[in-house]
Point group: C2
Chain length 471, copies 2
């Protein structure tokens, strides 16, 4: 089976008392070894049982983070940065013990440079908090991974979500980072210029590094003008192929669609039940259009034509904000709707992303695989990017269910990689995808990643054992 063996947390030594004393002296009540707090910091939204760190420090500044990293380096103790705890692949589990460095109280919005379309915030600011702070500026930050994650965490996992088809991912939208390095230095990875060729792209090295190369303390992101007009629509299709074909043709026509989400029949059914909607229960696309009123109308008309040519039915508009919100809230709640298919169950979520030309085949082969399983499942996808999630419901504690879910995921990932796709479009590697990286990148590229890790963190104290193992 492809489920990575649960790492040996038992091998972790408790932190040295000398370190605990130093941290207690500096941080007072913001340093804790309370079991409940530690346990809460050793879990995420993954399928893993939590593995608690030895202690938690609540940082309030870059200087706080620097102090913790320096002390941990001195005592050779792991540091695991913690934002909102919404990661999905085991990123936060303290598999080698150490300190959870909680930046969730670093909430300062440091600058909103409206003319430059940038904002700089401390790492604990969440995407919703940033958008609240932007209220009245006419600007917004579009990246929306579902959870109200911290900007630090979203940077660290290279997050994206429903808007990425139009606005890109954190890769494209992080302008600069302030990072505390393993060597105990504070660096800023780039200036605020929109583009630069001034040396190695440190920003992109830290985006997606999952706390393994440095601790992100400040994030400068790109902002966008609020669209003058927004409209949304849903359209049902006879089968997955027709829906995906409609999406491919939309992208190929250069229509600057803001979002296009795919829901399979099981997902539509779950969403109807959970959110009291009456969507037709067949494969469905949920669209959103941003632009000037006439541009939105034109985009929508073009997409409607493409949908019709692909046998789409019931193209339904939601132009009133409340209708739009209802639809998109339902989409956002799809995860919880899915869980309600089997109350008391637990979800395992896959995350492949394939070239869009391979998407229909990928989903269709996955559907065949799912049909042969007794696990309840549903599919939702950011199909404009070729990224989709299978949600598999397992009985908590059932090794057989877990093994079956992981086997399905393993086959899905292998097919995706064979189709020139990736094991993770947006969730990150954490522990859960490590076993697939060699298949995806090859042993030599993985060696290069290890060299990078060794160069930036020679003592292996930064979230050790995640992404690549140095053992």
């Amino acid at each position: 089976m492809n489920h990575p063996a649960m790492p040996a947390a038992a091998f972790a030594r408790p932190i040295p008392e000398g370190l605990a004393d130093e941290l207690a002296a500096r941080f007072g009540e913001r340093f804790t070894r309370a079991a409940a707090v530690c346990l809460q910091h050793g879990r995420d939204e993954s399928c893993y049982e939590p593995i608690a760190p030895d202690a938690v420090v609540f940082a309030h500044s870059t200087e706080d983070v620097l102090a913790v990293v320096k002390l941990c380096a001195q005592f050779q103790v792991p540091v695991i940065p913690y934002g909102t705890g919404s990661s999905l692949e085991g990123h936060l589990l303290a598999i080698r013990g150490g300190i959870s460095l909680d930046v969730s109280e670093m909430k300062a919005v440091l600058a909103i440079n409206a003319e430059d379309l940038t904002a700089t915030v401390e790492a604990g600011v969440t995407r919703k908090e940033l958008n609240d702070a932007l209220h009245g500026t006419g600007l917004f930050f579009p990246i929306d991974p579902g959870a109200d994650a911290s900007l630090g965490g979203m940077s660290a996992t290279r997050a994206s979500g429903t808007n990425a088809v139009r606005y890109g991912t954190m890769r494209e939208n992080v302008v600069a980072l302030t990072v505390v390095t393993a060597a105990g230095k504070v660096i800023r990875t780039a200036r605020r210029a929109k583009k630069s060729s001034a040396g190695y792209d440190l920003t992109r090295i830290f985006v997606g590094s999952e706390g393994t190369l440095g601790v992100i303390t400040e994030v400068t992101v790109r902002l966008y003008p609020l669209p003058e007009a927004i409209s949304a629509a849903v359209c049902n299709f006879a089968d997955v192929d027709s829906a995906v074909r409609c999406v491919i043709e939309t992208i190929q026509a250069g229509i600057p669609i803001a979002r296009v989400e795919f829901l399979d029949t099981a997902c539509v059914r779950a969403v109807n039940h959970f959110s009291k909607l009456t969507l037709r229960e067949s494969p469905l696309l949920l669209f959103e259009f941003h632009g000037s009123p006439s541009s939105v109308a034109e985009q929508a008309e073009s997409v409607q034509n493409l949908a019709r040519e692909n046998g789409g039915t019931d193209f339904e508009w939601a132009t009133r904000p409340e209708d739009r919100t209802r639809l998109w809230t339902a989409r956002h709640n799809a995860y919880f709707a899915g869980l309600q298919m089997r109350p008391g169950s637990r979800a395992i979520t896959t995350d492949v992303c394939v070239p869009i030309s391979q998407l229909a085949q990928s989903i269709s082969q996955t559907n065949e695989d799912l049909a042969a399983s007794q696990l309840a499942s549903m599919i939702v996808g950011h199909v404009g990017d070729g990224n989709y999630h299978v949600m598999l419901l397992i009985e908590p504690g059932s090794a057989a269910d877990l093994e079956e879910a992981e086997a399905i995921n393993g086959r899905l990932v292998s097919r995706a990689i064979a189709q020139d796709g990736t094991c993770t479009g947006e969730h990150g590697v954490g522990l859960h995808k490590m076993a697939f990286l060699e298949e995806e990148h090859g042993a030599d590229a993985l060696d290069l990643m290890r060299e990078l890790k060794r160069a930036f963190d020679p003592q292996n104290i930064l979230n050790p054992g995640k992404i690549v193992s140095l053992d």
Copy 2:
């Protein structure tokens, strides 16, 4: 003065005969030590005198590149990748001798995946050759740095140009690279999926690495649907401030402008003379709009309103392809037009990029500085991105002119960095910007770049002495 001292080419040893024998045996006539060929490979479009490599190898495949890199690693001899020779900052000068590895004959278009909007080419394919290969697909590759550079070279310098305001730079448009590493391995940096969170961003590490971390042999890039409609317009302004204000308001309004170029009065005059145009000789913006016919009309109308509010005059349309081509060809030839201001002179081109809110002040301060100089100069800019170039004309061989030009550039760069900008928006570091990197990034960030270089190229054989020096 800020002009970096010309590096000590004299310290370079000739390549060992053992290496020459091995290369001659493998490559036959594709290995040469002919002085003229070496000299041609030791020059670029920078202000530096050429420094020839000891030999040149013309590679025809990734395997050829691999063989050269392995041999050079074995003999500890530098390797300098060479594309079309159009780089601007001394990237190609063989300051430590070694082999120029010419990939310009690697011309295969390996795949055009029209449905996925990607193409994969060998590193020697130029942007025009790629667009020729795309003929009939309805797709194009937009990145246009002016020169008909190779895709390998454009990746290596993180190039961009006039279209970047809409389509991004090579940072956003390289999907994956095939790279030969210093360790003599061939890696592919990513799959073809549109997004991925599967580990460290190897692609972005090599984009902009200027041949110092690996040799790029294949490039997969994003393609875009050819716009249904294109229109262009020029508009004159009373002063630089008004022109820049118009650009800021255009960007802030979210108008998806495809290009917006600024030309100062001196540049307009030069272009008129060189390209036989009759543009009004005052600060000028040259716009291009891409989209559906109605969207283009709407964008243009919005921009025209913004131009009018900022005192723009003579908003003139060029909707006929021949008029558009004439205008943009004139813009493309601005460099040569500038050289004609003082026939026989040589150009030094600056490349700062600042947050757009700082752009008017940056240009205005630079104009004051230029007014105090006797050097002829002109300014052109990709102003939608805050990036502009001052072209300074110097007398060939005049140390005083060179010193003055470099002093102007030094002050310009320092002001740009103080404004949160960068010393190079798109040309790269090469030799010419190395002296500014510490001011821009800080000593600690630069140390991290050195660690990266050491990790990826422990023998320092890949284009040594560029971007960061390890001495």
